[in-house]
Symmetry: C2
Subunit: 523 residues, 2 copies
């Protein structure tokens, strides 16, 4: 059912009366007449056609509120419009509370909007001019692309087997052919070509998921992300063949960052330093493992070079976009540094979400120098991007010019887009440190962001319920359960004997270190 926008109010000026016609959602029409003489309005018609479910009722209620606002503005007498609002709501037989005054947006429309062809603009969208004039207000084309890459990063969480009672804990629940299909991301027009696995020689707190079982698929490695490439249709739309690396992250615990200097490690020429723990995950390998005979770094670069060779041969223009959330955002920068060093001339952009700092000033400057374009999406209330260097950089805050001298101080690279949890009318007001770091919160805020000064856009279309997949951040009024994203019956199924059992994984979904897309798959 098509619905009319929120604030559609028609004012029919008559000699002696003003007539308001409000078209609300769900075919609700409301007319009010204000006699020039009287100070209050008379409701003379109201139809509520299909507000069956509680949810729809709430929507209509909110629509009504929205609709009444212009009248409030038009009105000099607040009392009058207040009366109108009340009568209107009483007709809806709904309680009249503060929490009703929320712009719920297009909650019942499709979550996807039609896509634009951005083939002529893709370089700007990927930071050619460091996103000048694209971030505030946020260009809708850029928003869509950022969310696309964000959903690629989100897939590394949604596909991940977190179940310590599964022998495959720490791997991806689906093989690379099924991942996007299972997670409903096929519409983005990319194909996963290779899975990336990582291990770590240094003990990085709580990045590694381990099964409780004796026999497991791997004792050393975790699925750490994947390489994907745009198909012909999408390549057409975005103006080049886009290779994507999506890195899985974890909520970074602050303990990582208690001693900054101790955890800094030299790379390249002497001046450049990066966080030791991040680099260990990116670089560690061992002959005695099945999935990390090659390091994550080697696995990615091998695949990226293979794809470049393949598409170069067809004379195609190519870009490499690296994305990741939290720890994944840190790995993305290390990946970008290596790719830029080893493949000159390749357009490389990093789109990271809630990523901590990775290296020092020299690292940042080297990335700029090599033309790596980095866009960091940061939620104001999220503390992770403040690490490492939170304490340190704050001490030096006032003497910021000095910090440049200390090349051991962590620095953020590239441009950034700052989001504020309080922008969204759907999120609880009390800020939640862990929750505010959640990638779905980032995507939700991005979807509603117009500009620093403007409110959350009413026609944001991304499904709000996704926020509560693994958080408790949505306001009660939405009635979305908290932490709802879990397998039916925690993975148990009823077998033919009438027993609840954990089915062993489909052979096709058992992790394989070797599976990469053949050239036929690529075409």
């Amino acid at each position: 059912m098509e619905v009319s926008p929120l604030r559609q109010v028609r004012k029919e000026k008559g000699a002696k009366k003003t007539k308001w016609v409000l078209k609300l959602k769900f075919g609700v029409t409301w007319k009010a007449i204000k006699k020039a003489s009287s100070s209050t309005m008379k409701l003379n018609r109201f139809r509520l056609t299909c507000a069956s479910s509680m949810k729809q009722l709430s929507l209509v209620r909110v629509q009504a509120e929205e609709a009444v606002k212009p009248i409030q503005q038009a009105h000099t007498k607040k009392k009058a419009s207040h009366h109108v609002t009340k009568s209107l709501l009483s007709l809806l037989q709904l309680p009249y509370t503060a929490s009703d005054f929320i712009d719920w947006g297009d909650l019942m429309t499709p979550t996807k909007s039609p896509k634009e062809n951005i083939s002529t603009k893709w370089r700007e969208i990927h930071g050619l001019h460091n996103w000048d004039n694209l971030l505030d207000p946020l260009h809708p084309w850029l928003r869509r692309e950022i969310i696309k890459y964000g959903e690629f990063a989100q897939a590394t969480y949604d596909g991940f087997d977190f179940d310590p009672l599964s022998e495959f804990c720490g791997s991806c629940r689906y093989n690379r052919h099924k991942l996007y299909e299972e997670l409903g991301l096929t519409n983005h027009g990319y194909k996963v070509t290779k899975y990336i696995y990582a291990m770590s020689h240094v003990d990085v707190p709580s990045w590694f998921e381990r099964s409780h079982l004796g026999e497991t698929w791997s004792k050393d490695s975790n699925w750490m992300g994947y390489v994907a490439v745009s198909n012909d249709e999408e390549s057409e739309r975005i103006g080049r063949r886009d290779i994507v690396m999506a890195w899985r992250g974890t909520v970074a615990p602050t303990e990582w960052f208690t001693d900054l200097k101790a955890m800094l490690e030299r790379i390249g020429d002497g001046k450049i330093k990066v966080q030791h723990g991040f680099r260990s995950i990116y670089k560690s390998k061992s002959e005695f493992t099945r999935y990390n005979k090659l390091s994550a770094s080697e696995q990615v670069m091998e695949e990226v070079n293979r794809l470049i060779k393949f598409y170069k041969a067809k004379g195609e223009e190519i870009s490499f976009t690296i994305t990741g959330h939290s720890l994944g955002g840190a790995l993305a920068l290390l990946n970008a540094y290596e790719a830029a060093t080893s493949i000159p001339g390749l357009p490389i952009s990093v789109i990271s979400f809630g990523a901590p700092r990775v290296g020092n000033l020299a690292f940042k400057e080297k990335l700029d120098e090599m033309g790596v374009k980095t866009l960091r999406i940061v939620v104001k209330q999220d503390i992770v991007p403040k690490f490492p260097g939170f304490i340190c950089n704050n001490i030096l805050h006032k003497l910021n010019f000095v910090t440049k001298k200390f090349n051991w101080v962590y620095r953020h690279a590239g441009s950034h887009l700052k989001l504020d949890m309080f922008m969204s009318p759907y999120l609880k007001r009390e800020s939640d440190l862990i929750g505010s770091h959640n990638l779905e919160i980032y995507l939700h805020l991005l979807d509603g962001f117009l500009s620093e000064r403007r409110k959350f856009r009413w026609n944001a279309r991304r499904d709000v319920a996704l926020v509560n997949k693994t958080t408790d951040m949505l306001i009660e009024e939405l009635r979305i359960p908290k932490f709802w994203y879990q397998l039916p019956y925690k993975g148990l199924v009823l077998n033919k004997h009438g027993r609840w059992v954990k089915p062993s994984r489909e052979p096709e979904d058992v992790p394989s270190p070797l599976s990469v897309a053949s050239e036929n798959e690529l075409h």
Copy 2:
């Protein structure tokens, strides 16, 4: 695949050697030869055919252990059999730990066994002789019947809508026609004829489930159970038409019982007293409610009388069996008291699980006098059956003969069957006060109970996984997730717009105070 019992060991005496042939699960056969001379055994054949999944492997492992035990007994030299065990397990390539020595029972066979015709024995099974000589050892026919009624009580939990975000929180998720089908209980051969609702005028702690939403199906009432009746086939098997009332319970918080005397209430003649809170739930009603214009008591008795009238007219023999867990067990006794008072000559039996004490000595004596047969199933580690009167009765423990004088002291009615959590090899050793009260624990222990002195029966067939539906009581080795019984994605479904929404309940499942089985339904 048919499997052979655990301990099947054949000893083939030869002149110079003893040959052991062990038939294990999953077509595993193992032969060991012990030369009269040597003190150790030689493994000479081992086939492992279909132990694909971890679970099956564990089973084979355990089967192997089981199989080795008799050898251990036969052997004088422990060392030797230990060696055998080890070789056996090494062949299975499985770790060798203490936790392997568990009798896992028939985990892969059907959960249901064929039923016997008990038509000639049903009066004894329902307490004609107060279950003398039927409880220890537990008669298999009785066990089956107790579990049947226990599963009827369990249905009041499994069908209950606990979701505070549902407008129907506190009702049954399914209408009475679908309840047994949805919960897989159709095989018991009963039909639900009426749903029972309750409210309470006194504030009984945490028995009442309330929705967080503004608009709900009822603000005062909860679904409190149902009346069911055996169909022709089942009536044939059990020798009479059985009317069942299954009462829903709650975990009884100890606060209920701080002041015993204050909460005692007179019923019938002056001497008889029962717990005030229980009685309030059983008897409360209000003109201004939709579901409790009649009290739970009136709803049940009306339906029971209707059914009796109907089947009496057909000259059938009738029994009334009342079951319930925890609070439900308490309500069952109040229900039995009323039924016995108002319908003389009706065979009434109560089968309760983990029920607290309900009334004083006079109440107990009156029930006996009226011929109400009560079988209380009690888990030793569960504290709820110790309330009310826990403190009090313990103080008076040593002067037990005196307590008879204090007619305000709570007394348990009828016979009881005591179960011990430590009997079951599947349950964690640390006793959990809340967990030990769970009805699924009761049913699990019943299923394995042979007698006070004998161990958990190896061929118990009820699905062990059910224990963890709403507890964390199963040992790790079973790899059953804890608290796994929850709706997929907490009740959210993906709609055609790509949004995760809570679907409104099927109209047919919206609670109705009036729905009862028509006479056609009864046949």
